[in-house]
Symmetry: C2
Subunit: 315 residues, 2 copies
Amino acid sequence: MKCGIIGAGAVGGYYGGLLAKNGFDIHFLLHSDYLYVKKNGLFIESKDGDYHLSDVNAYSKAEDMPLCDLVIVALKTTENYQLPAMLPHIIKDNGIILILQNGLGVEKEIADMVPKASILGGLCFLCSNKVGPGHIKHLDYGSVIIGEYLHEYRPSGINGNMKLIADLFKNAGISVQLTENLGLARWKKLVWNIPFNGLSVILDATTDQLMAHPSTRCLAENVMREVITGAKHCGFFIEKEYADDMLKLTEQMTAYKPSMKLDFEAGRQMEIEKIYSQPIYESASAGYDMVSTRAICLQLEYLDIKAAFDRSDSH
Amino acid sequence: MKCGIIGAGAVGGYYGGLLAKNGFDIHFLLHSDYLYVKKNGLFIESKDGDYHLSDVNAYSKAEDMPLCDLVIVALKTTENYQLPAMLPHIIKDNGIILILQNGLGVEKEIADMVPKASILGGLCFLCSNKVGPGHIKHLDYGSVIIGEYLHEYRPSGINGNMKLIADLFKNAGISVQLTENLGLARWKKLVWNIPFNGLSVILDATTDQLMAHPSTRCLAENVMREVITGAKHCGFFIEKEYADDMLKLTEQMTAYKPSMKLDFEAGRQMEIEKIYSQPIYESASAGYDMVSTRAICLQLEYLDIKAAFDRSDSH
C-alpha cells in the first residue's frame, strides 16, 4: 500500500514519521523543507523516544510523486487552496484520502475536488510542533479518531476503508478510534477548539491562564455551551456535561498553547475559516446565531489581517 | 457659589480649570498631584488657547475643604470607593453634586451616599489627557450633557438646579445641553463607549484601525445594535439609525484612543464595572442578554487583572 503525505509539519511529520519508521511505503510532499529533508531526512524528537529517518521519499512537486492508494492531507487548512492542483496527481482512482485537519467543512471541500476518492476525516489529539526544518517535537498524546465522510456529515457506520486505515495506524503504534459519526466528532472537537484557540490568541494567554481567571473560564464555558447548542441545531447531539468534562480536562493540563496561538506567534495565517466561520455559518443556517463565537471570530479576523500587514510592512 | 472638584485629571482639570480661569470660586481635591499643584498651579494646554492657573485652591484631604454648594465628581469610577469618606465633608446640606463620569449606575451609588443632595449626571464629550502633574492637554471637543438623576433614571424634566449649572458652565465658555432623560443620554453614550473602549484595549487598536477592517467594523456595529436593544429593554428608546450615525462619526474622526485604552496603557484599572458590568446587569434584569458585550466584558476583566498582576510582579 503506497501512501502519500501532503505536509510534513507537526501533524504530517509525526504520523508520517511513525508510518515510515514502521516500514510502510511513505512518500512526503514538502514545500519549504524539501531540500533539507531530501538531504538530511526527518528527525522526530518524541516523549516516546527520539528517532531519525535518514532516507525519506521526499518530493517538491505533486507531479513527481507516485500514484498512491492512500493520501494523508496534513496541511494547515489555510493551504487547502493548493490541493486541487495536487491531489489529482497523487491519488489513485478509488483511492482513500484521510484528512488530518481541524475544523468543519474540510471533507466536503476535498470530496468536491476528487469525487471518485473515498474520504475519511481524522481528528488528531496531539501536542506536537515543528521546531526546525525536518525537525518535529512531539510533546504529548497522539491518538486519532477516524470517520468516513458522507454528504452533509450523515452518520456512516464502520466500513472496510476505516478498518484498513485503523490497522495501518495501529501497526505503526498509533492509537486509533473509529467513529460512525464524523460530524459529531468534529463538533465535539470544536467545543474545545473554539474557545481556547481564539482566546489564547486574542488575550495572549496559555490555557492555564485562561482557566485561572474566573472571567475567561466563564467566557470559555459560555462559548462551549454555545457550540454545543450550535451542534444540536445542526443535528449533532452533545451532552451538556461534555463542556464540564472539557473544562476539567483543561484545568488538569499543563500550560498549553493551542495550535492557533502557535500559528499566530510564528506569523502564519490562522485557521479561522474552518474553525470559526464555517461552524458559525452552519449553525446560523440551521437557525442559531453563535453570538460569542462570532465576536471571537471577528476579533481573530482583525488580528489575522493586521499581522499580515505588519509582516508586509517589515519586508 | 462655592464649588469643589474631586479629581484634577483630564476631566476635572479641564472643566475646573475653565471655571477657575473665569473667576469662579473653585476648590480642588487632589491626590498624587497635590504638592505639585499647590506649588506650581495647573497648566492647561488647549486647542482653544493655553493658560496657566498659578494660584489654585488645592487640598489633599476632604476634611480641609470648605463646604461647597456644588461638588463636581471627576474621578475615574474605579476610585468611587473613596467617595463615602469624602463627600460628607465637602457638600452642603441640599447642595448639588454633578457627576462627570462614564457608564451606568454612578448616580445611584452617589445618591445613596448623600441622600440630601441633589444629584446631576453629566456626560462629557471631551478629548483631553493628563500628560504630567498639574498638566492637562485638551485635544478636542468639550461639551457636556447634563440631566437630573431621579430614582431608576426616571425622566426628570428641566429643573432649576440644571439651569443654574448650565449658566455656570456657559459663563466659563463650556457648551452645555440639558436633558430631561439622563438614563437615555447615558445609554446613548454607551452605544459608542461599549464597542470602542473594549475593542481598542483587547485588540490594541485605535478607532481608525477598528473602522478600517470590515470584521471589527461589523463587530462594533453588532455590539452597538445589542446595546440599543439592551437600552430598549430597560425602557430607553434609541433609534436604530443612531448606530449608523455613530459609525459614520467614528469614521470621520482621526485616529483616536478611547479613555479605557489610555487607562490600560498607563497601567490604571479600567472602568469595566460602570461601562460594562452594570449595563449588562441592567439589561439582563430586564430580560435581554447582551451576549457580545458580555464576551468583551469578560475579556477585559481578564486583561485588567492580568495587568495588575504584571505590575505587582515588576515591583
